[in-house]
Amino acid sequence: MANRSVVPFGPQHPVLPEPIHLDLVMEDETVIEAVPSIGYVHRGLESLVKKKDFNEMVYVTERICGICSFMHGMGYCSAVEKIMNVEVPRRADYLRTIWSEMSRLHSHLLWLGLLADAFGFEALFMQSWRLREKILDMFEISTGGRVIFSVNKIGGVLKDMPKDMLKSFVAILNDMEKELSETTSVFLNEYTVRSRLEGVGIITKEDAIRRGAVGPMMRASGIEVDMRKTGYAAYSDLDFEVITSDKCDSLARCQVRIGELFQSIAIIRQAVDKIPEGEISVPVKGNPDGECFMRLEQPRGEAFYYVRANGTKFLDRMRVRTPTFANIPAMLQTLQGAQFADVPLLILTIDPCISCTER
């Protein structure tokens, strides 16, 4: 009979930049069950609605996460704009779309680097992060900040990107695309990488729905859902296909994210071609009154914003359901029956952001 034991995993572990703990119930080397513990760094940011007015909350939401900072601010602003019936200038929609796709590039490259690091392929880790650095440089050129750049405001954006700057970004991305092809082909074709990812951490389409998975986690299980297709910001004007895979394993999740890297570059190119001239924000008067559910597609998947306002400058409630929070049950599913050595990689394949989860 197999020996049953409980192995603690985390909260500190080489593959975890942020703390999460799992109690792994093992039979020899096989995981039977995983029980998660989160909450090591819970910040209670949502409760700041009692102290910060609805405009100041933009800066709070941007600090939920350092990777999708821009998109958190955008999601919150979009929800408040919807409540207040504010029509954002079209140029601001395009600018938001461009920064969103740059954030997706930044996030997916960061994840590829972490994945490579987790299976000990240091050169691949460095290549991925070297490419990511170019995106951070573009953030710095366009906003002045590399991580949190606070360009969202209710009613539009605070900074514009002139035509020359946009053209230079497209040129950088064109060059980067070639390097990206070389780097990502290693992830997709190299035997040592495939052997760690292929056929590992299967989550079927039915399980993905049952466990509430979102984003690349869901799309790698053959579910064609990408919130960008709902047409928020400038996405309704742009042509792109939802990238899916029906392989349902860790390699499929990697393939979907890699596909989205090239797709983001294509979307930025289209947005730069189509961006109209004009204002970048409209003045917003008064206080919001009402409620709104807002969804948008972050790099890690669907983020869900709920804003409830009462006509004063302080909101009744602001809630963010982050993609990682939604993907934890699906991650636990992938761990059941997994080998102990695969656990770090399986945790990484949901692209966990504990900072988001502990908002």
């Binding site: 029980v35 513990s37 989160i38 909450g39 090591y40 819970h42 209670g44 949502e46 409760s47 009692k50 729905i209 049952r210 466990r211 509430g212 859902v225 919130m227 297709k229 709902t230 009402g290 409620e291 709104c292 559910f293 969804r295 669907e302 869900f304 709920y306 409830r308 009744d316 409630r317 809630r319 359901r321 929070f325 939604a326 934890i328 049950p329 502990e358």
Partner: protein
């Protein structure tokens, strides 16, 4: 059931589990559960997604009342239900994995509820 606008359908406690079962059997995904405290009662919003469709159900729960867990139907509800009990003090009965207010390692009790004198 009552459509109260903004894509929200208000339901009664007795309607909760039948609604949840219907959504589950029709392959809807639990997108989120959100708790808010307003005018002396809890508002619990259950959001379900299928493709790009989204439906929200709203349950009004008195301050001293409890709500049934849906975690035996939707396993992903475990984190949401533990969270709203811990942050708001909303009683949720029979959660499949009950963290007993230890989901978040915080000292404050029900920190999202306004305390008397605040």
């Amino acid at each position: 059931m009552e459509d109260i606008g903004n894509n929200v359908i208000k339901i009664e406690q007795v309607e909760l589990l039948p609604v949840i079962m219907e959504k589950k059997n029709d392959d809807w995904r639990l997108a989120q559960i959100c708790c808010a405290f307003r005018d002396g009662h809890y508002e619990v919003s259950y959001s379900f997604a299928k493709g790009y469709e989204l439906t929200n159900y709203r349950l009004i729960v008195g301050k001293d009342e409890t709500v049934a867990s849906i975690s035996r139907v939707y396993k992903s509800a475990i984190l949401y239900e533990n969270e709203m009990r811990e942050l708001f003090g909303l009683g949720v009965e029979h959660i499949k994995v009950d963290y007993h207010d230890k989901l978040y390692r915080i000292d404050a009790e029900t920190p999202f509820m306004e305390k008397e004198g605040e």
